[in-house]
């Protein structure tokens, strides 16, 4: 198995479209710097896909590092833990970058970083215990989407998972936080892979890494080959760099040739995809019991003084993180949470670091502004670039009629907003924005009776 993947430069099945985005992995060789705990953290109750958590603590209460401070009784959710020790100052509310409001817990540090007694390696006897432990760790998909991991690892009864895919593609420009994980914590990644593969009963696990990270590929291959439980079922797959290969459905198609049907989940085609950092975190959690309270962030962009990788406490205001990285230049005009292709532009730096963040980018004036859109010249570049074979320009045109039925027929709901269409558009049209508007129109449309 391994030898096949070693030879071919671009192993894997063909996928449609994509874009040759610039890599700009400037911080690839920047060792992760641990940022000292901040004086104050603000922790939103919504750092995952699903139902928001409810605070378990009250204002004035003291909390310790790793203590569970919020949870939900809804299924799709993940508990939240305190990243510092100190006093709960307030339970408030804030506007999240995604546009919805969420409750927050503000904690003031006592500077002690006292560990909570709750922290101990979870006792795991069997699958149910394991899933419970994963839930208690607070882990969500660290690649950006923030889907609670325990749900992913617990597919419905009767679903056969044969392939575990580790997403080390990291195809977004600038971001190197997965890369640093593969380099710095390769053992954790591989340990996690073997453990999760066993848990899922998968026949094989594929660690997929893009070819612009040769050192990571080499490192992980070496560790896999030297791993004591190595039975050849875990392979490292080198992918030709292509955006958006790290998109879950695209990656599944690339690695297995399977297409996740519309409205279905990866488990329906026998796959579970996990981010490299998520799986390494799980390996560490199983041995230490320390829940998810810190996150590695790539700090980069033309307006950042000292680009680097920072390990920061969740809840640290972005401004503090940027300040730690030498501050941002006076002409900074845009701060992005996440990568430049799918990240969210922030109105300011008071937003805290979230669980699923992997980068904070700041750009100077020239890079911050996009071209004014001009008329579509029907060049078809967006059609060629769409990884999901949509026709973005068609949705853009149909948008004028605001007809939810036509928009849905045009496949707008399939769009994952990867940004390839807008990126390649020579007329600078805001095609992703049109897709989002189209989705909104479809969602807001009164549901019709099925014919």
């Amino acid at each position: 198995m391994l030898s096949i993947f070693n030879k071919a430069k671009d192993a894997g099945y063909p996928t449609h479209g994509g874009a040759n985005v610039p890599h700009r992995k400037n911080t690839a060789e920047c060792k992760t710097v641990v940022m000292p705990p901040p004086e104050k953290v603000v922790i939103p109750m919504l750092m995952h896909l699903g139902a928001p958590c409810t605070p378990l603590v009250k204002a004035g209460q003291t909390v310790k590092v790793g203590q569970k401070i919020a949870d939900s009784d809804k299924f799709v959710s993940a508990p939240i833990h305190s990243p510092i020790s100190g006093k709960v100052k307030a339970i408030g509310e804030m506007l999240m970058p995604q546009g919805m409001k969420a409750a927050t817990i503000t904690i003031e540090s006592d500077g002690e970083m006292t560990l909570s007694e709750e922290i101990k390696p979870p006792a795991v006897n069997g699958k149910d215990d394991f899933i419970k432990a994963v839930r208690e760790s607070g882990l969500v998909g660290l690649g950006g989407a923030g889907f609670p991991t325990f749900i992913k690892l617990n597919p419905p009864v009767g679903t056969v998972i044969d392939t575990l895919i580790i997403n080390g593609a990291e195809c977004e420009p600038y971001i190197t936080s997965d890369y640093r994980e593969l380099i710095e914590n390769g053992e954790d990644v591989v340990t996690g892979v073997f453990a999760i593969k066993k848990l899922l009963g998968a026949e094989r696990a594929v660690i997929a890494i893009e070819d612009n990270k040769p050192l990571a590929i080499e490192n992980i291959k070496k560790i896999v080959n030297g791993f004591e439980q190595n039975d050849g079922s875990v392979s490292v797959m080198t992918l030709a760099s292509r955006y958006p290969q790290g998109g879950e459905k695209v990656l599944i198609q690339k690695v297995t040739g399977r297409v996740v049907p519309k409205g279905k989940l990866p488990a329906d085609v026998g796959c579970v995809v996990m981010n490299a950092q998520s799986i390494a975190f799980l390996a560490r959690y199983m041995s230490t019991g320390m829940p998810l309270i810190t996150k590695r962030l790539t700090i980069d962009g033309s307006a950042v003084n000292n680009p680097q990788n920072v390990m920061a406490c969740i809840g640290t205001p972005i401004n503090d993180v940027l300040e730690f990285a030498g501050g941002i230049k006076d002409d900074a005009k845009k701060i992005i949470m996440g990568g430049p292709m799918m990240g969210i532009a922030l109105s300011g730096g008071d937003i805290p670091v979230l669980k699923q963040n992997d980068a904070v980018l700041a750009f100077s004036e020239g890079d911050a502004e996009m071209r004014e859109p001009s008329a579509c010249i029907r060049c078809g570049r967006c059609v060629d670039a769409c990884p999901f074979s949509l026709m973005p320009t068609r949705v853009d045109h149909l948008l004028k009629q605001k007809d939810p039925v036509e928009l849905e027929k045009a496949g707008a709901m399939t769009c994952m907003e990867c940004g390839c269409c807008s990126f390649v558009c020579p007329a600078g049209r805001k095609l992703v924005q049109s897709m989002r508007l189209a989705k909104r129109i479809i969602r807001n449309a009164p549901k019709k009776e099925a014919k």
């Binding site: 900074a332 845009k334 300011g348 078809g380 570049r381």
Partner: protein, 333 residues
């Protein structure tokens, strides 16, 4: 830090490609064809070109002004229309005013009245040419022998293009295959040199301005159908005449520069294939069975009109959607 940050929808990166850059690439790719044309037909080529291009740009500027719309001449699309129109005119003095008139028709009637760049249903330069062909059939088919500008005016005016010669049922006076390929023959200024046009086409493909799909399907279909018709003995074709069919009559100019017009050709991959094949078929049908010796322009015009339908029929299936169930009578199980 000032606190006025730009908040915009992702992505926050753009490719360096712009509409203007693409048009500039088209202009660059036309250089070999212009050099060839100037060598064969002399000073009249740059003269007609400048006038036609200026007319197009000026017409676009005026039209946008009158329509009270933002000015768009800087996207260079009007200039490209002018250049391609000029290539489609005979190398005579009359082409100067015809170029100006055709340019105005192309830009104002065909493009701006339909909403400007991206909205026109047919290629402006081509409709400009067709209008001139219909209005001034004699002037538009008054040909000049190549290199006559050097040898003197004695044998300047020639009666027929290679296709017209073939159309009249003879092979006498046909240029050799090599001369046809380099452009030593009568014809429109830019259509004669297949090699120069091919260089431009390859440049456009390398710069990824166009995909080779449409030109290859177009020219390939003309070649294939011509061979098939030969086998059935239609007009008693010989290998010599096969070269004439492929290399003459503006096939290369049309296939590389006019059929590939973004606005009026399908944006779907299979749509492009159908479009190219359709252009080729109609071209041959007109050449062989209609009264006209030349069919490329009309073929492209017809396919332009079919483009929206071709596109609707060839829409790609979105990722993860079940295979389309065609609503045929008995198919609903």
């Amino acid at each position: 830090m000032n606190n006025t940050m730009i908040v915009s929808s992702s992505p926050h990166l753009q490719h360096t490609n712009t509409t203007r850059g693409i048009m500039l690439d088209v202009i660059i790719s036309l250089v070999p064809a212009f050099i060839a044309a100037t060598v064969f037909f002399g000073w009249i080529v740059p003269f007609v070109t400048v006038v036609a291009t200026a007319a197009c740009v000026f017409a676009e500027w005026c039209a946008r002004k009158i329509l009270k719309r933002e000015n768009t001449i800087s996207d260079l699309s009007a200039a490209v229309t002018g250049l391609i129109l000029a290539l489609n005119l005979p190398p005579t003095l009359d082409s100067v005013w015809m170029g100006a008139l055709g340019g105005v028709i192309a830009v104002v009637v065909v493009k701006q009245l339909f909403g400007g760049l991206g909205q026109n249903f047919a290629n402006p330069a081509m409709v400009g040419r067709i209008v001139l062909m219909v209005s001034f059939p004699t002037l538009m088919t008054t040909w000049v022998n190549p290199l006559a500008w050097i040898s003197g005016p004695v044998d300047a005016v020639s009666s027929a293009t290679p296709l017209a010669i073939v159309g009249s049922g003879t092979t006498e006076g046909l240029p050799s295959f090599l001369n046809m390929a380099i452009g030593m023959r009568t014809g429109c200024m830019g259509e004669t040199s297949a090699i120069a046009l091919l260089i431009g086409g390859i440049y456009l493909c390398i710069k990824r301005v166009i995909k080779p799909t449409i030109p290859v399907c177009f020219i390939g279909t003309v070649a294939a159908v011509t061979i098939i018709l030969d086998l059935f003995g239609v007009k008693g074709m010989t290998p010599d005449l096969f070269g004439v069919q492929i290399l003459s009559g503006g096939l290369f100019l049309g296939a590389i520069y006019m059929a590939t017009d973004y606005v009026t050709s399908p944006i779907t991959p299979w749509g492009r294939v159908i479009f190219g094949i359709g252009c080729g078929l109609v071209t041959v049908i007109i050449r062989y069975f209609a009264a006209l010796p030349e069919g490329v322009s009309y073929a492209i015009l017809l396919m332009n009109l079919l483009t929206p339908h071709i596109e609707n029929l060839t829409r790609p299936k979105p990722f993860g959607e079940p295979r389309e169930k065609k609503q045929k009578g008995g198919d609903r199980s």
